[in-house]
Amino acid sequence: MKISARAVLALIFAGLLLTPYLVRRFGRPPGARAASGQVDALAQYGFRLTESAQAAGLAFVHQAPTLDARLAHIMPQVASMGAAVSVVDVDRDGRPDLYVTNSGAGSRNRLFRNRGDGTFEDVAGRLGVADLNHPETGASMGAVWGDYDNDGFDDLFLYRWGRPEIFHNDRGQGFTPVATAGLPAWANINTAVWLDADRDGLLDLFAGGYYAESVNLWKLADTRMMPESFEYATNGGRKYLFRNLGGGRFEEVSGPAGLASRRWALAAVAADLRGSGYPDLFVANDYGVSELFANDRGRFREIGRDTGVGYAPKSGMNASVGDVLNQGRLAIYVSNISEEGILLQGNNLWVPSGPAGGPLRYENLARAMGVDLGGWSFGAQFADLNNDGFLDLYLVNGYVSASRQESYWYDFSKIAGGHQAVIGDARNWPAMGTRSLAGYQQKKVWISDGAGRFLDVAQMVGATDRYDGRAVAVADLSDRGVLDVIVANQRGPLLLYRNEVAPDRAWVAFDLEGGCRPERAAAPCTNRSAIGAQVTVFWNGQQQLQEVSGGSGFCAQNQRRLHFGLGAGATVEKAVVRWPSGKVQELARPAPNRVHKLEEPR
């Protein structure tokens, strides 16, 4: 080899070694790095968030469950879920209320009723939905709301590691457990959504198990209850589809409906992803691939691999949908785990590819759009936080925040790579002690630039907490035309980030009510909660699609009102409503900066 050639090659080699630095320096979009307070977030990003839970009377700190003593050595990571938040107008006073779950034995869930003056009062005890965490019934993991009997008041489905229950909303004055619901006596459920799977005007219920339903985490038969694999586990909880028969009766039909799976479900979202009129079901699974169930007239068919989402197993912990490119099609966001140099799964943003109306295919654009790395990610929601006409993304993260000096990552990595006989038995897991695992992480508030890139501005706009975030929900809590953010933290306080948006930004919102009534449930009509209804707003030469959801994110449910930011100087051309009944309603030139209350036409 010539010496000169070798010298050139050495230079090239040095350049190669330098490349990671150059990519870091120039390859990623400039992040918002200045310290909070140095930048006028309102002027620069169009909004700012102010944490105001205490001022609003939302005094709540989540308590984790204490499970079987044989799990004591790894208790922080096993008992790492249960903080949930869902938004509901429980008494139909037009103001969104908040339901928050707790998980410690004897701890109380909260129903924070919105007083309308910026403050909340806890009415859970008075209404009978507080004292719901006991050893014999298990620990609350989350709640979703839907008007299963079309009486105008949203009912509560509370899912636990334990006994799931439906509570009938007695006109906002109290709740009555629905004894006729026919739910299982015990199931370790970590996700649920209301959906009208068969479009009969009655809300059905999907629930996804995490641990196998045979496992009682407070009285373990043995310690072989952990996932058999970190990425291919199929020894989790079963899935349930409770078909609403009317009269407060439900029939479990997951088998015949094609929802047989024993992956470890952590999040689900139902939405009409194929334009069929029926809600499809996306399930984000921990320890494995996600599943996408296409709804063929009430029967489901798993199409994860066909659509591209069923490869590359990760640790799915969130499922939320949003029209991120304003193309009238819903993308799906799945959160996973990313830790520098250790485990870089990257979150997934599944964006529909190919022509509309063609076979459904997704492409993961999380990296390209800048929303892939979010730490140990949990709940996320799409929302136009700055009313600029493009959906932003709020993500919480952090698994176990304990000692700031000691990390459990090494121990976690050595057991996670082990054979199923090792990883599947809790006895083999190293003791966690006071170690943190992906703790004290910075949250992500990614704002869209409208051109397919997101920029993290969390620290700039005021989302500066470092709690172990689990559930995120968004709602316009004070009817101001802006979306506030509510965050439920594991072993941490409930947070309310009040949003302030630049005044020149316009918006429009829609409160939908389906046409079904208790005495008129015969199709075609839409469930009264309007879950599954889609609204597309056309303005300034663009469009955005949103769908009323019966639960999304991680253990969360947003306000059912659909909120569209429009940007400055907007003129709305029209809004098109597709009701699950099949009816299509068009509103010409709906006025901006107001909430349009729409009832399904007869």
């Binding site: 990519v23 870091r24 291919y232 140099g341 870089l344 799964q345 090494y410 121990d411």
Partner: protein
């Protein structure tokens, strides 16, 4: 991964250099079809294509002849399996660093680092924000391991290097027991890593690379033991990618010692 050609003490009716590429291709295809264990086909193809392209380019320019591509092919596949990143560029870069290191980092005409080991360690150290190592893939079930063990054992036996693997495994288990004693953690949790798929690649192909291991059988066994020993130290210090770092340190030191000894031996007659 074995990125050099294997010496073949046993007579074979075919070019032994195709053994390892054939095996690792089977592993790749079977793993992806059965478990979908790759980040994506495209990333792995990118790694393979880059490795081959760089090998062709550098080999042709520097030596004026087209190099045999088995080594680059294995390096590319290894990178495609061992590197985990949501981005594309780390796959290309890791392959390029691996191949170029083979030509740049040479002593007495011999490259002293296992190229893939060097590339992976470089990426883990220089780009931790973009790269992680293979952690958990292949389903954590027994079948893929059994298949790799059978084929790996047969191939290593054929090329006379199975003793390296066996010494390393025995040493790892010994040190796992020692670590369990020292840390108080369950013995199985210390043994757990070697039951994972990454180690099957590491013990069958990477530490046995003929081009970057020392010559005598007894010395190979000592080096294997030392890799396990240094890895144990890294593990006690809680380095997640301990085996890569251990080989990164022990491998070249052993090679340098051997080169120095050979040089001294060669110099002796001239002194008389």
């Amino acid at each position: 991964m074995t990125t050099g050609t294997m010496t073949a003490p046993r007579r074979m009716p075919f070019d032994h250099r195709y053994l390892a590429p054939a095996l690792i291709t089977c592993v790749l295809v079977a793993g992806q079809l059965s478990f979908g264990f790759l980040e994506s086909w495209s990333r792995t193809f990118l790694a393979i294509a880059t490795a081959i392209l760089v090998e062709l380019l550098v080999g042709r320019v520097l030596y004026g002849r087209w190099p045999h591509l088995a080594s680059a092919y294995i390096s590319g596949i290894s990178v495609g399996i061992l590197v985990r990143s949501p981005a594309f560029w780390p796959y290309a870069l890791c392959s390029a660093i691996s191949i170029v290191s083979k030509y740049v980092l040479r002593v007495e005409g011999r490259h002293i680092w296992n190229p893939t080991n060097f590339g992976v360690v470089a990426m883990l150290v220089l780009a931790p924000d973009a790269v992680a190592g293979l952690s958990v893939q292949w389903g954590n079930t027994l079948l893929p391991m059994v298949i790799v063990w059978i084929f790996g054992t047969v191939i290593l036996w054929m090329v006379g290097r199975i003793h390296i693997t066996l010494v390393y495994v025995a040493s790892f288990v010994l040190f796992a027991a020692l670590r369990a004693l020292l840390t108080g953690h369950p013995f199985l949790s210390e043994v757990a890593p070697i039951t994972g798929p990454m180690y099957q690649l590491f013990i069958f192909f990477m530490i046995t690379d003929p081009k970057t291991t020392v010559g005598p059988t007894w010395a190979q066994s000592i080096v294997a033991f030392l890799v396990a020993a240094v890895e144990a130290v890294f593990r006690l210090l809680e380095f997640v990618h301990a085996p890569f770092y251990a080989l990164f340190l022990v491998g070249p030191i052993a090679n340098l010692i051997e080169i120095a000894l050979k040089k001294r031996t060669a110099a002796r007659p001239a002194a008389h």
